[in-house]
Amino acid sequence: MIVYLLCFILFLVGIYGILTKRDLIKIILSIGIMGYAANLMLILFAYRNNSIYPILSEGKAVSQMVDPLPQALVLTSIVIELGTTAMLVALALRLYEKYKTFDITKIRRLKG
């Protein structure tokens, strides 16, 4: 239970960064933090006491393995997060070229 709460606090730190920071870089980092917290939360739900990793080998009982389903889902989610981070960085660089700043309060003229 306390592990879940700490993970939720990490997620809230990410939301705090998105809501209060004015630099695009800090906002991108906050989105990254939220992604970490969400992935970690799913894997925390999958853990089982005194268990082993879900890879079959000799002398490993199937009934003592952790839940493999969230691991499979999070595996693809991590890779997609890398793609979206790269896209956000490219957008931020494009904005920097046009406006010469990362401050979102100074980026006002949103036209081509």
């Binding site: 592990v3 990490l10 933090i33 970690l40 879900p54 080998s57 595996l75 790269a86 490219a90 920097y96």
Partner: protein
Amino acid sequence: MPIEIWLIFILCVMIIASIAALEIKDILSSIIAIGVVGLGVSLSFLFLQAPDLAVVQFLFEIFALIILVRAFVKKEFHQHEETKNNLLISIVTIVVLGLLFLLSLPVFQNLPVFGQPLMTVSEYYLFHGALQTGAANLVAAIILDYRAYDTLGEVTVLFTAIIGTLSILKIRSKEKNRETSNE
């Protein structure tokens, strides 16, 4: 030492590092602090018996650090001037998020206890996976066999994101070329 205490320790380090990453003025230190958070996630995946995920998360972290450092370090960083307005916004946000945390406490009480997951679907995968797919790694069996269409969709999302990134960067280089040719 029980695994929960290790996890609490790692999570506390990660929370401190993420707050530091958001509050530090220097952009390189901020990116390095994000690296601490990501490697903490990788380490806790190892503790939670997910070796595949730990490796993927580690690689993700290295790539993300390279992209962020390459993109942002040479740029002129906005100096955040402290004003009264900023402080007010921060305080209101912290209060609202604190209320959100308190209100969501009952949700966490209703969740299954840490270490005793609901394994209704996964039991089937665990016991029949080796026979039906022939894969020793059950995570790979689920990604590439039971949920292959799901994976196909996610790969499509990844492909779209990469195409978007490339096209954004390409527009930029075209405009640069035009500027240089005009000069």
